[in-house]
Symmetry: C2
Subunit: 403 residues, 2 copies
């Protein structure tokens, strides 16, 4: 494997940190860029990671002490500081830049107008500043971006979601049939998902105009917290979000089970979603980095997910494993109550991904991590209180069902 120089924008976050460590362990030269905004939002929400995450200095020192190669760190707000970002890229001359530096929680992006405006301004400016900087430097750098399955929307009619592009046919006049290969039409369900759809258009343009190499990874819902690298030392532990804004659904169930809270299912729990374990996330990133698209090939779009599940089935799975109770609460989101979902992930499978699944013991590991840090849980942070529209109620248990 050829080693590369890699800048990880947003390398302090839930996906960014374990990815940085994994790539470093693989022998790549890794530079983390982060303005620590996710930790600031922790402060704002008064909802810390369940796991006690160390400062960046301590994280990086621990990595070296446990045998890791030195990882660089640069505190830059890439959305606000175009020149800082450009100068860093010019200085490091990376082969790859991974763009994780976006506000990544759908509920937070719908929390209030300040959060909506922040999410749009931060995510769009961060991604565009990166593209504009690479264009300015005329550098041949592979951009790898974390998108989301959510750009596709969840009102599937049975058509399998392909990897980014769709061949469609349009009847014209005079019995002509026009064939077009189009970006799969997006139908984002939150301001956050909307920004990822908007990112796609920026990638399409810069790949066309500047022949930039770009890979866009449409990721499912990540679960789990630890990877082989973050387990090396307590100070390397990854964050674990359990609150109503940042906690992802399966991790919330596992953590609720661990602390004796009922598993809160939104609506009927009939939502079918795509999932991936954090250990597979970091492997997908490494595969994407090793396989950039050719110059002028257009944006490479891969669906980064390993399995689909209906939310209520997951709740029952966790309930069975843990003895926890399931509670149906009002759905604070504006989404279809029930949906099917069929997604192709042929791209990563062809690249050699061997997905792990829910059945492989990691459910238990995540419950154990949750139990270990259960004393850090603030129970009042568990409900989802960010609502999508005026008509909706928070996802709060108002009444415990009678036995």
């Amino acid at each position: 494997m050829s080693t590369k120089k890699i800048i990880v924008l947003g390398g302090d976050g839930f996906c960014g940190w374990p990815t940085s460590l994994y790539l470093s362990a693989q022998g790549h030269e890794v530079h983390i860029v982060d303005n620590m905004s996710r930790r600031e939002i922790d402060q704002e929400l008064n909802a810390d990671s369940l796991t006690p995450i160390a400062s960046m200095d301590d994280r990086l020192a621990a990595w070296e002490e446990t045998g890791g190669e030195k990882i660089g760190f640069h505190n830059i707000d890439v959305a606000a500081d175009y020149h800082g970002l450009r100068d860093l890229i010019e200085d490091i001359q990376p082969d790859t830049v991974i763009q994780f530096a976006e506000q990544r929680a759908a509920p937070y992006s719908m929390k209030n107008e300040t959060a909506k405006v922040y999410t749009v301004n931060n995510n769009i400016s961060a991604t565009h500043n990166l593209l504009a900087a690479i264009a300015e430097l005329r550098a041949d750098i592979h951009v790898v971006h974390l998108g989301t399955m959510g750009v596709y929307g969840y009102d599937g009619d049975g058509l399998q979601i392909p990897e980014g592009y769709l061949r469609v046919y349009v009847p014209g006049e005079n019995r002509d049939i026009f064939q077009r290969d189009i970006l799969y039409p997006t139908n984002p369900g939150s301001v956050y998902h909307m920004t990822k759809s908007m990112d796609q258009l920026m990638f399409q343009f810069y790949a066309k105009n500047d022949h930039m190499r770009i890979t866009d990874l449409h990721q499912g819902i990540v679960w789990g917290t630890q990877t082989a690298e973050t387990r090396r030392d307590e100070r390397l532990i990854n964050r674990f979000d359990y609150d109503g804004d940042y906690g992802t659904v399966l991790n919330r169930f596992l953590m609720q089970a661990a602390v004796g809270h009922p598993l809160t299912v939104h609506g009927t729990g009939g939502q079918t979603r795509a999932f991936i374990h954090i250990q597979d996330t970091v492997q997908c990133l490494a595969l994407a980095i090793a396989n950039p698209p050719a110059k002028g090939e257009g944006v490479k779009i891969l669906n980064q997910m390993t399995e689909t599940h209906r939310v209520r089935d997951l709740a029952h799975l966790v309930a069975e494993a843990s003895g926890a109770k399931v509670e149906m609460v009002d759905n604070p989101r504006n989404e279809a109550a029930e949906n099917d979902l069929d997604v192709s992930n042929k791209g990563f499978i062809d690249l050699g991904l061997e997905p792990m699944t829910l059945k492989e013991g990691l459910l238990t590991e995540t419950i154990e991590v949750s139990q270990k840090y259960a004393h850090r849980c603030r129970m009042e942070m568990i409900p989802c209180v960010s609502t999508w529209t005026d008509n909706q109620k928070p996802g709060v248990i108002t009444q415990i069902a009678a036995e």
Copy 2:
């Protein structure tokens, strides 16, 4: 006709100013919001409007002196000042907000990285701040946005460009055929056009999530300068851009003819584009305002253009009318050398638009306006020097062809 309270964001600009006057003349209560950024760019480029535009104070005073109703003015940077915009909307309680407050020149958006970053940050934040403010206020306000025909791209294969949405068919497995109504897939040709494509996604989301009423007008290339209202007084004159960044192609030909400059055709001049006269622009706006979509109907998309022409045909038309010479110069843009274009504008025709065309004497009027102010022309500002990529040359005459 029912009169409305209307806020015009970007009401000092080339389309915004005559629209504001027309709506005021129609009896609507008009409030202009502008941070005068277009005039600042004049300073930056050292390329003033050919016509001498008065200060906003003088413009508004002249409007009242010539019998117009009072028009309000508010200097707010709507991209940067979310709360200023929201408070103004709360205060005025408009029926309609027109969103013209975007950087609107494709060449300027490709000029350099600073202009790219500005165009994205300004255009996206301005539009999103408006949508977020209306969502926060839970107000039933009709948003009318100026988009561009350019979002569609110009690599047409003979399929008529519909008004925003396209019915497509996708073959699935098992011989199923899936039918979808999708946003017409965009293929923007500059950072400016890209922002208008991104706007579409924001409109789609807010129309879906908040049942907002939104009309998106995909406008062709505007030509002409004066309308019935701007002719009332010298101080009401509309701006006329002739420089390589902001001048639009037909206006540039007319002005070049007026000042004795060769008509500069980019590449082969085989580009076919959609056109509309500024007088029709203001009428389209009034029709759009009078016919908002129903709540929950989704975004209403109309093609705001009246005719299509091939660029070299326009050059020859102007050359014939004026005796000017045609010069082919390198195309500074990254675009197809030749394309056909077939666009539906059934929406506005059905609403009652009676389009004027190039044949109706307005070519001469625009040449006359150009001649009147020819002494203000700075010839060195005429060439297009903003290039799309590194490989391209500015659209400058390097050699005058031998007779």
